[in-house]
């Protein structure tokens, strides 16, 4: 059984790391890759992801259908776990083939923290779906909102790319050229996964 003091310590570590990945990602990821203390703080990211899936299920299904709600949540979570595991297996296999050195544990921790921009984008989009439901109009305010929304989306996307690069750099000790090679192979994989998720009506934008 986890003690309260440990829980508080882990949650503080999580907050510090989460802020670090936003403000100082290079140093934070480098520290995370060599840290020998309790690693369980990264599990808070999964709690955030689960919170999002519960929230998304409520928005999509509504609270009137508890059975459908739980089915929807389970499908989202299973698809997320499948996508997450696929990415980890893909990175570790290609990384080792290219001479990378590192452990699955470090890779998992670093890739988990890279889910923060993804989760934030999905939360943001879901909230905006409630408060400012689409479609946008072509009036001035509609155009202004579209530019602001695109700015936020692109910013989070670039943050994700930075964390993706740092994950491969520090978890597998790869250089830019090898990361570029992996990226050339990972893009078709992501396109494939996205298509499958879209066709199965699970995610319109892949949760990776």
């Amino acid at each position: 059984m986890i003690r309260v003091t440990t829980l508080v310590k882990l949650s503080l570590l999580f907050v510090t790391n989460a802020v670090g990945t936003f403000h100082n990602p290079y140093v934070t990821y480098r520290r995370l890759s060599v840290e020998k203390t309790d690693h369980r703080h990264f599990l808070f990211v999964f709690l955030l992801v689960i919170a999002y899936f519960i929230f998304a299920s409520f928005i999509r299904i509504g609270k009137s259908y508890p059975f459908l709600l739980s089915v929807h949540f389970n499908v989202l979570f299973a698809a997320f776990i499948f996508g997450f595991t696929t990415m980890i297996v893909f990175f570790i296999t290609l990384g080792k083939l290219l001479g990378g050195k590192g452990s699955v544990k470090t890779l998992t921790i670093l890739w988990t923290y890279s889910l923060l921009p993804t989760t934030i984008w999905f939360f943001l989009t879901s909230l905006l779906y409630i408060f400012l439901p689409p479609p946008r109009t072509e009036a001035f305010l509609g155009k202004l909102f579209s530019v602001i929304f695109l700015t936020l989306t692109l910013s989070l996307f670039f943050w994700k790319i930075i964390l993706y690069y740092l994950t491969l750099r520090f978890a597998l000790r790869l250089d830019l050229l090898k990361i570029g090679l992996i990226t050339l192979l990972v893009v078709p994989l992501i396109v494939g996964l996205s298509t499958v998720f879209y066709m199965l009506r699970i995610f319109r934008v892949p949760f990776l």
Partner: protein
């Protein structure tokens, strides 16, 4: 004992800093070293600025298609 603790921390920090060798890109290394600091420390400043400029550029390039893209993305969760 206090000095030993400081020394241990310094050694740990030095080991952390040398966990990966410096990145070189041949003739492009100079340009790489100029750009990367903007992405290493407080990258949100450069990414938000760049994203805003890119969004405005897309608006002037694509016109009302940008509104459609935003609407489509809003359905994407």
């Amino acid at each position: 004992m206090k000095n030993d603790r400081v020394y241990e921390l310094l050694v740990a920090k030095m080991q952390e800093m040398t966990v990966v060798p410096p990145q070189t890109l041949g003739p492009l290394t100079f340009a790489y070293k100029r750009i990367v600091p903007y992405l290493k420390f407080a990258p949100w400043r450069s990414t938000v600025t760049f994203s805003f400029l890119l969004s405005v550029f897309l608006y002037f390039l694509l016109g009302s298609t940008v509104v459609k893209i935003a609407s489509l993305l809003q359905f994407g969760f």
